[in-house]
């Protein structure tokens, strides 16, 4: 027998076991005897220990025969040498008594209860051996009314056992503080907000309380905890770039509900209302169920064979008449890696052009470009889990609780623990009250502000000279540039007091480890890529690279926008970011694809529209993107669509763009397909089909394979294992990735030997060798320069938690009952001048067009600034946005539009 040091062991029912660091008695027992060996009610693995129910009581003694004491194991720290008795008669009696008392105030209607068979109270009662309740029925709470007010959340507090798990989930996981315990003793009860309903409270429907509740006291309309489902499939959410793992409960071919798996590394038992509840779009009556071909101006149903023939015939005609560069494709960041790979392969190897792009163009292309220039690779340097280690958080141009809710909740939780949070954003956002510094700059002045921020780091002597000398280059240029700044001018431009900037800069630079996050408020600007380079500068000049809890971490928008770019859905780099103009790489691709590929850089999305309008581009293939609705300056996009000779749209719903299509191919949603998505922290995760494709639809990958074959290219079928292997053969950082090896939690690229993760990039050296500093001069956007006289307000745009982009999916769920319109936020000062009240209808007009929106007067924005979201097609906010682009990547400047506003 192995001898174990006494100071490292403790005894469970007489048997010695090794103790772990910082363990409670319960952790220790769970680890060695399995969860459930000691029954618990108020304890949940995702929550802090609480010690309310005492069901987890055990006896402890310092000597095996010494005097014993009864303690709650969940919140008692373990000490070496302790003897723990988990099954003594005394604790068994105690547990039985506690549960028996709980049952005196619980309706014993288990057979008709929605959680029958999956109720923790039921299993604990069974485990402690209750066969009868000895007490006569006395005063109780069995007559409490159900709360069915909310589109998703439900409560039936007659089933409540006052364990406070829901309250703690709301506080500790989401940080929303909606739930609480009202009163005390026998009268205590769970309340929402000021004792109101779910509907009227500030609940964000994340469902953390429902998942944490051990009974059916808090649940949801899908009865997610019921055991009705016959199958559970683990997959990855289709919405944002956080990449939450989901567990989809199905019965037959129907999705019943979705929960978050407790062991998910990305989201550990948490997700948001989109991931958990907004799935009923998948079998909505509006789903496209048959290919449609435009005949005599009308879209008419056709078979897949007819559609493929029609497409092949037209594409071959255009290839013959106008050459491959007259054809382009836009891939989809909502689709899997394998599907993106096949799409770009179709365009490059079958059509023979590099005219392939994806929606990263309109969101994070500046991030990829900026970080590639600074570090050599465009992806997040660290992992989301590093939030737990960081000592300072810098959030630039991102609203994480709305756009990336699970990451947002983690940032909020960390800030609530006292870790300084710095926000650079034109608006007061949900996490602003938790921030130590909020630099509320005028939209469009990121570069000016970050220059000043860098200046103060330099001035305070907080530059990490050692890191700069060892790991970076071009410092002199930056240093000289910063010293030449006109701080008075910057203060005027940004509207932020220099002392505030100085304090924030010192906070960031003095922290032991500082992590930056940025979103589209950085990238969707005329100096987008340049702003990213400035954020990279900050990390390098303070040595915040290459270890835990630091780095530059773009909050990637779509579920697979990282993957779409990795797979080569961009015109200048093929699969794996290899330069398409390099003859050696061209030859490498040609050998792998067995087809000729072009060495010319193709069109970026805005160039595709331009080429379509002037007739150079004849045909466009869109995979799951509604460009008319989502790209700026909608009129110009419409003109482009109308001028195309042949437009193919692969979609799950009819969209504004699909109205212009010559052929529409009905695709399957994420719930109906398998493959991989890569989240914002480079984690390649397995997507598993939970149900069969809806009748009449096909997964996008299968469609690509079939059209490739129809066009004469032999492409093997799109399978999770097979296509991933093909990708791994060409994308360098996927080499070694296998379907099996990815496991339940996926792996972060670059994949290491044995299909292992790389959690942190640039640990020893940068991808490009030395990290490169850039000094960037601020340049006012031409949108402001040209229009500020006539259109004095600046409109900036953003997102809401409840909807996703143009809402094609979320508007077809009950999320639209929670939020049903876009509104325009205006500062009270401006509202007074313009005589505007909340609820008034406003006309907002720019140099391009006008829209009508309802007013919401709020101090969230400073005077002179307006804000709106863009989730509802009826408003068509993009009628007014400009087509000014980032000078480096052509990412549109959605965040700055010169407008004026008046009451209708």
């Amino acid at each position: 027998m192995i001898q174990i040091a006494k100071d490292k062991t403790a005894y469970i029912d007489g048997t010695p076991h090794l103790i772990g660091e910082g363990e409670s008695l319960l952790n220790f027992i769970d680890r060695h005897k399995g969860r459930g060996h000691v029954p618990t009610l108020c304890d949940a693995p995702q929550l802090e220990p609480y010690g309310a129910c005492r069901v987890c009581s055990v006896e402890v003694a310092l000597e095996v025969d010494g005097p014993r004491r009864t303690v709650a194991s969940c919140h008692t720290p373990l000490t070496p040498g302790l003897h723990i008795f988990t099954e003594s008669e005394k604790v068994n009696d105690l547990r039985r008594n506690i549960v028996e008392l709980v049952l005196t105030d619980h309706p014993l209607d288990c057979l008709t209860c929605e959680v029958n068979g999956n109720c923790e109270l039921q299993s604990v009662a069974a485990k402690v051996g209750i066969r009868e309740v000895r007490y006569p029925q006395g005063r109780n709470h069995l007559d409490r009314k159900k709360d069915l007010s909310h589109p998703y959340m439900t409560s039936d507090l007659s089933k409540c056992i006052n364990c406070s798990r829901c309250v703690r989930a709301c506080d500790e996981i989401q940080g929303q503080f909606v739930l609480s315990m009202h009163g005390r003793g026998f009268d205590s009860r769970i309340i929402k907000g000021f004792d109101t309903s779910f509907e009227d409270s500030d609940c964000v429907s994340c469902g953390a309380c429902s998942q944490a509740c051990p009974t059916s006291a808090i649940s949801d309309i899908f009865q997610s905890k019921s055991i009705e489902a016959t199958n559970h499939t683990r997959t990855v959410c289709t919405y944002c770039g956080v990449g939450c793992n989901l567990e989809v409960a199905t019965k037959g071919n129907e999705v019943l509900s979705i929960q978050a798996p407790p062991n998910a590394e990305t989201n550990g038992a948490h997700t948001c209302l989109k991931g958990r509840y907004a799935f009923r779009f998948y079998n909505h009556p509006d789903r496209l169920r048959s290919p449609l071909i435009r005949r005599e101006g009308k879209l008419v149903e056709a078979t897949w064979e007819e559609a493929y023939d029609h497409i092949a015939e037209n594409l071959n005609r255009i290839l013959k008449d106008s050459g491959p560069d007259a054809i382009a494709g836009i891939s989809s960041a909502r689709c899997t890696n394998e599907e993106n790979y096949l799409m770009q392969k179709f365009i490059r190897a079958v059509i023979g052009t590099n005219n392939i792009d994806c929606c990263a163009r309109v969101c994070h292309s500046p991030t990829a470009e900026g970080m590639q220039r600074s570090f050599g690779t465009g992806a997040a340097t660290n992992s989301i889990d590093d939030i737990n280690e960081t000592e300072c958080m810098l959030v630039v141009g991102a609203n994480p609780t709305q756009g990336h809710p699970v990451t947002g909740a983690r940032i909020k939780q960390r800030a609530m623990k006292g870790i300084p949070l710095i926000i650079i954003d034109p608006r007061e956002i949900e996490i602003t009250p938790y921030a130590k510094h909020h630099l509320q700059l005028r939209p469009g002045t990121n570069v000016a502000l970050l220059n000043m921020f860098s200046y103060y780091i330099l001035e305070a002597g907080l530059v990490d000279q050692d890191f700069v000398e060892r790991r970076c280059e071009n410092w002199e240029e930056l240093e000289a540039g910063l010293k030449s700044l006109d701080l008075d001018e910057i203060e005027k431009l940004t509207g932020v007091d220099r002392q505030e900037v100085k304090a924030a800069a010192i906070e960031y630079a003095s922290a032991k480890g500082a992590m930056s996050f940025h979103g589209l408020g950085v990238t969707e600007h005329s100096q987008g890529a340049k702003t990213v380079m400035l954020i990279a500068n900050l990390a390098m000049m303070t040595g915040n690279i290459g270890r835990r809890g630091v780095g530059v971490n773009p909050l990637r928008g779509q579920n697979n926008v990282q993957g779409a770019a990795d797979m080569g859905a961009q015109p200048h780099q093929g699969a794996g970011y290899l330069d398409v103009t390099d003859p050696k790489i061209q030859a490498h691709y040609e050998e792998y694809y067995g087809a000729k590929v072009s060495g010319e850089i193709g069109y970026k999305i805005p160039e595709m529209f331009e080429a379509a309008r002037n007739g150079d581009l004849k045909s466009l293939w869109l995979m799951g993107e509604d460009v008319v609705q989502t790209d700026p300056n909608s009129e110009a996009v419409r003109a482009a669509m109308a001028n195309l000779d042949f437009l193919v749209v692969q979609e799950i719903f009819m969209t504004e763009t699909a109205q212009y299509a010559n052929v529409i191919l009905p695709a399957s949603s994420f719930l109906e397909k398998s493959g991989t998505f890569t989240n914002g922290e480079r984690r390649i995760q397995r997507v598993n089909a939970a149900v069969e494709p809806l009748e009449g639809t096909k997964p996008d990958g299968q469609i690509m394979v079939e059209i490739m074959n129809r066009m004469g290219y032999e492409q093997s079928a799109c399978t999770p294992e097979g296509t991933l292997a093909e990708v791994a053969g060409i994308v360098p950082f996927f080499a070694g990735a296998t379907w099996e090896g990815l496991g339940d939690n996926g792996k972060q690229w670059p994949i290491q030997e044995g299909c292992e993760s790389t959690t942190i990039l640039h640990t020893e050296s940068f991808k490009r060798g030395l990290g490169k500093f850039h000094f960037i001069e601020f340049k006012e956007s031409s949108e402001i320069e040209d229009n500020r006289e006539q259109f004095p307000f600046i409109l900036t745009t953003g997102r809401l938690l409840e909807h996703y982009n143009c809402g094609t999916m979320t508007r077809r769920t009950r999320n639209s009952e929670i939020v049903s319109k876009d509104v325009l936020t205006i500062n009270p000062v401006d509202a007074e001048v313009k005589k505007i009240c909340s609820g008034d209808h406003l006309r907002i007009f720019s140099a391009r067009g006008e829209v009508t929106l309802e007013a919401e007067v709020s101090e969230e924005v400073k005077p002179g600034i307006l804000f709106t979201t863009f989730h509802f097609p009826e408003h068509m906010v993009n009628n007014i946005t400009s087509d000014v682009h980032d000078g480096d990547t052509m990412c549109p400047e959605y965040k700055v539009t010169s407008v004026d506003v008046e009451k209708v």
Partner: protein
């Protein structure tokens, strides 16, 4: 509607908060007492105001208010009567005292319940509450009218006590 707090009250509250340098949260009880003594009760707006003052979530303040029966969530009369109902006073006749006070002050006794412990007279002059121990066990039954403490309150003394309120 945001709560309107007079400057001197806010000054007093700010002073109270300085007594808890480690954490503003610890000042929640004294601040609530100040607010209640000024406004007579703690409204939702007051909860929001206190929460903002102490940098807490409103619900963290609300749960304290609901935990202590000494904090009131609705307005009381000009003269708020608290009759002790704990053991010594109960044995000394606090139930009769309660009945009698209600009659004299024209308060509907049936409105004083376990869940809603305060009833107010129609004219708003008086309100009554069956309170937990007021710490006068040797001289029961006792009651308090606003901040004035009355001991050995026989039902015959009520008329005079109420008269002296005005």
């Amino acid at each position: 509607m945001a709560l309107k707090v007079p400057a001197d009250l806010e000054k007093e509250i700010d002073k109270r908060i300085t007594h808890y340098p480690e954490s503003k949260r610890s000042a929640v009880l004294p601040v609530l007492h100040e607010v209640q003594s000024h406004f007579g009760y703690i409204s939702e707006d007051a909860v929001v105001w206190v929460a903002k003052k102490l940098e807490l979530e409103p619900i963290r303040v609300l749960e304290v208010v609901t935990f202590y029966p000494g904090f009131r969530q609705k307005p009381v009369g000009k003269h708020h009567i608290r009759v002790c109902r704990t053991l010594s006073c109960a044995m000394a006749g606090s139930a009769e005292l309660m009945e009698e006070f209600c009659k004299k002050a024209k308060i509907d006794r049936s409105k004083v319940s376990h869940h809603d412990p305060i009833a107010v007279s129609e004219d708003g002059q008086y309100s009554i509450e069956f309170a937990e121990c007021l710490a006068g066990c040797g001289t029961g039954p006792v009651c308090m009218i606003n901040d004035d403490f009355h001991e050995e309150v026989g039902t015959d003394k009520l008329e005079e006590i109420l008269k002296n309120c005005d």
